[in-house]
């Protein structure tokens, strides 16, 4: 088992290096480096989205399609508040709050009505909530080019002759710290332990007296905060447009798939790789046009890889 893991890691590293070398062939280092750093930033956004999805899915069994919409609502609120001339930190906090509250509303009052349904149905229901949020947000803020700018855009550091803006650095660092932090949370705290127990066996956890409602609410809260942060960063780095932020959930799910909907570390690596490959494809004249397809192709390939040798068998449940 252990050997297999190292082989997988080795294979991944070789593949990534080969891809980067192939796409970056003949280009000056500075250009390649620029595309890699921008790819890492976008990839962190995918990873952040994926992490939020997985934390929630593991603890509650709900695959949440509405994270993007909650993030969009938060980002638009932040834009509105800075438009009114309030202090920037107020806007950021409002963004997180709006995303947190909307997600909690769903988790506490709607998701609980569906606790006994199949996973697919629960996922579909979150879609309904995403549509309501999206409709509401687009209704309040009619379509118009907007942008949001964080103070981190203006600071930056230079590494190896490359200038990296603070925001890009921030998302990469945040996604790495988040994976580390959530891991520690799951391993070291009581609530984290209970979340892992829920992920393992829900009916058994209920019998053991785990406060399911409380643990689930915390999971919804964490995913809401992550969604808000991701939405704000996405608005700054890519685009402030509700529809686009809402459906960012699709590449985020692609990132989550690379981690089999359970492994946060793999999601981080998967998300970052997707971002880098997508960005590097810009350098290829033939594949340039189809570069946003990268996350989906990668997710599909990873799924196929996980499937190898799998056989349809059953436990004695039936």
């Amino acid at each position: 088992m252990r050997d297999m893991r190292w082989i997988n890691i080795g294979l991944y590293v070789v593949l990534m290096v080969a891809l980067v070398l192939w796409l970056g062939a003949g280009k000056p280092f500075k250009i390649t480096g620029m595309f890699i750093t921008s790819g890492l930033a976008v990839g962190s956004l995918y990873a952040l989205g994926g992490i939020g999805i997985i934390v929630l899915y593991r603890a509650t069994g709900v695959l949440n399609f509405s994270g993007g919409a909650a993030g969009a609502a938060g980002a638009m609120t932040a834009w509105q508040i800075s438009e009114w001339g309030w202090a920037q930190p107020v806007a950021w906090i409002a963004c997180l709050l709006v995303s947190l509250v909307t997600t909690l509303i769903y988790g506490r009052w709607i998701a609980s009505k569906l606790a006994w349904r199949e996973t697919v149905v629960k996922a579909v229901a979150t879609l309904g909530f995403a549509l309501i949020l999206l409709g509401l947000v687009s209704f309040i803020w009619i379509d118009d080019p907007r942008s949001i700018s964080l103070p981190t855009d203006k600071v930056g550091i230079s590494m190896l002759g490359l200038r990296v803006t603070g925001t890009r650095l921030l998302v990469v660092v945040a996604s790495v710290l988040l994976v580390f932090g959530i891991h520690q949370f799951l391993v070291r705290t009581r609530i984290g332990l209970q979340m892992r127990a829920l992920a393992d066996d829900r009916s058994l956890s209920a019998l053991l007296g785990i406060p399911i409602l409380k643990v689930e609410t915390i999971a919804w809260g964490i995913s809401g905060l992550i969604a808000g942060f991701t939405g704000l960063m996405f608005a700054d780095l890519i685009r402030l447009e509700p529809v686009v932020i809402t459906f960012m959930v699709i590449p985020a799910i692609a990132a989550a798939i690379t981690g089999k909907l359970e492994n946060l570390g793999v999601v981080l690596i998967g998300g970052l790789s997707m971002g880098v490959i997508e960005s590097m494809l810009t350098l290829s004249p033939t594949l340039k046009g189809a570069r946003p397809i990268a996350p989906f192709v990668i997710a599909a390939v990873v799924l196929l890889w996980y499937q190898r040798g799998a056989r349809l068998t059953f436990n004695t449940k039936d």
């Binding site: 068998t313 059953f314 004695t316 039936d318």
Partner: protein, 239 residues
């Protein structure tokens, strides 16, 4: 003739079946044992839902373990589940007919055979009712009729009397005893209801903790002190 040769099944570190062997030669045979003894696991190995580490299952000269589950069914293996598997939105007739659908182009023969077997279990007047409208006993009978069509060679019934009244269990027992002469197939009944087994099975295998602890004529097996202490003993405590 059903020959089970040293079947070994592991789930993680747990040994679910520890080289179990038995040769069933009678029309209707039984497998009994307390909960968790490995009865259903053995049935799952035979029908292909659980793969075993080693061993073989040979029925009428065919090694079943080489076939995929649906191929086994097409070869002539039938099984019922602890919970009867009747589709709610199909009629009784269709619920039985689905077993014959792999024989394509024989619409008439298939329909006739379904009617014959529904008649044998006394369900022919309900043929057009939907699965959702049936009582528990009627669902069981439909399940049994489904196991009888298509010239089966081996029919395995997993706790067929689960949830039935004493009366219904008795009637079902009669239907089961008739299966071999109607279909020509051999029947294997799994249950922990000792009464049903001793009524209808001529020979019986007793499992406990994944091991064979007795095998032979039902009356002799049930009189075995080892069986009494392992199985009947626990029954008395829990009763």
């Amino acid at each position: 003739m059903i020959e089970i040769q040293s079947i070994l099944v592991r789930f993680g570190g747990v040994i679910a079946l520890n080289s179990v062997s038995a040769q069933f030669s009678k029309d209707v045979s039984g497998i009994i044992g307390p909960n968790g003894a490995g009865k259903t696991t053995l049935m799952n190995v035979i029908s292909g839902f659980v793969s075993c580490k080693s061993g073989s299952v040979v029925v009428d000269g065919q090694n079943l373990l080489n076939l995929s589950p649906h191929r086994r069914a097409q070869w002539g293996l039938r099984r019922s589940f602890q919970k009867e598997q009747i589709a709610d939105d199909l009629s009784v007739f269709e619920n039985v007919l689905v077993q014959l659908d792999f024989r394509m182009g024989q619409t008439r023969e298939n329909a006739l055979e379904v009617e014959k077997m529904l008649d044998a279990v006394g369900m022919s007047e309900h043929a057009n009712r939907l699965g959702a409208e049936l009582s528990g006993y009627e669902r069981r009978l439909t399940d049994v009729a489904r196991c009888m069509v298509g010239s089966p060679r081996l029919i395995m019934l997993d706790e067929p009397a689960g949830g039935l009244s004493v009366d219904e269990t008795h009637q079902l027992g009669n239907h089961i005893t008739n299966i071999p002469q109607i279909t020509g197939g051999q029947v294997l009944v799994i249950d922990h209801d000792v009464e049903l087994i001793s009524d209808i099975c001529k020979e019986t295998l007793v499992l406990d903790f994944g091991k064979r602890i007795a095998f032979g004529k039902t009356a002799e097996v049930l009189a075995d002190p080892k069986v009494k202490s392992a199985y009947l003993g626990t029954e008395e405590v829990s009763a």
